[in-house]
Symmetry: C2
Subunit: 194 residues, 2 copies
């Protein structure tokens, strides 16, 4: 593994919100991390890990420092995994209203509204490339609920909970989140392979 001179790994994203959510988690696990704003070209793939890996490679090429990038998506079983790796495009076009319309007539007591939220973290330092994934299973609610709206959070109810991600306080959300799972998997590897 090639460390940077200041031993900081750069979290590269066009979205500062992602970094703000990741920072306390990584810091708490002993990872020194800084933010680097960049809009990175993404490849088309149904697999988050492939998109994240290529994005990290591009980010490393551009910055010349150890980097991590994150990608996540909502995979709905009854829709063949849609919107999956294209979740942000789908949010920008048909949005949550479109997702709920597609599931219209699917009862939450059956398995028709089953989904998983998955996240992939990719690390690249030029000599080493690694990806880490985590998922949270749950169901899509009948209607959006919660004020703290972020992506599909208002319609995702993780298993074992009554609340959507958007109804949870920040600590509860972070504790239950797929993104936290992927960040933890990365941090465990990173701090032990110095």
């Amino acid at each position: 593994m090639r460390r940077s001179s200041d031993n900081v790994v750069r979290f590269v994203s066009s979205n500062r919100h992602k970094y703000d959510e990741a920072l306390p988690i990584l810091k708490g696990l002993g990872v020194r991390v800084g933010y680097e704003r960049a809009l990175l070209q993404e490849v088309q793939s149904d697999e988050l890990a492939v998109i994240a890996r290529e994005k990290a490679r591009n980010a490393h090429r551009r910055l010349g420092m150890p980097v991590i990038v994150e990608d996540d998506g909502l995979f709905i079983e009854a829709l063949g995994g849609f919107p999956g790796a294209y979740s942000s495009y789908v949010m920008r076009t048909i949005g949550i209203a479109g997702i709920l319309k597609l599931l219209d007539g699917s009862s939450s007591s059956s398995s028709d509204r089953r989904a998983r939220f998955s996240a992939a973290i990719a690390y690249d330092d030029g000599s080493e490339s690694r990806t880490f994934e985590a998922s949270v299973r749950g169901t899509i609610s009948e209607a959006p609920r919660g004020e703290k709206s972020w992506g599909y959070d208002p319609v995702f109810v993780p298993d074992g909970q009554d609340k959507t991600f958007a109804e949870m306080g920040p600590d509860q959300k972070i504790g239950a989140s797929h993104r936290t799972g992927a960040l933890r998997a990365f941090a465990e590897w990173y701090v032990t392979s110095a």
Copy 2:
């Protein structure tokens, strides 16, 4: 412009069907064309021309010959352009049934079912990179119609017609198609800039 030694431009695609449809059109316009099968990595973009341009660049890098690639998509106005540049992914997941469900309640007498089918052809020979686009406007039918099923053809009715693309004979379809328009635009440029 850099011609190949045999003056043939390679149509690169993983889908032989696309080449078979393009061959008579290009031949009829004086372009010598051959087929090269390759699965090319695509970038994520809402713009077909960007996806096609990057794909042609990759194809040229890999083959070292003048190439063209094609990309097309269905852009539905009421859905913010969805499924657009991601039409093939959307077809693989929610399919035509999903598209019709999203438009459920949108009457074809209003503008709610307006759409365009667009195609982009990108040319790359290492020294020159060009893209050519064409669109056909129309409406999304209430139900799929036609046997010759190919992508979204069974639900797209071009303006001035009663039939969906899938109900048309091959000659009528080729005459009305967005893909023909883009191929023609490319061919006009190509044969006059030798």
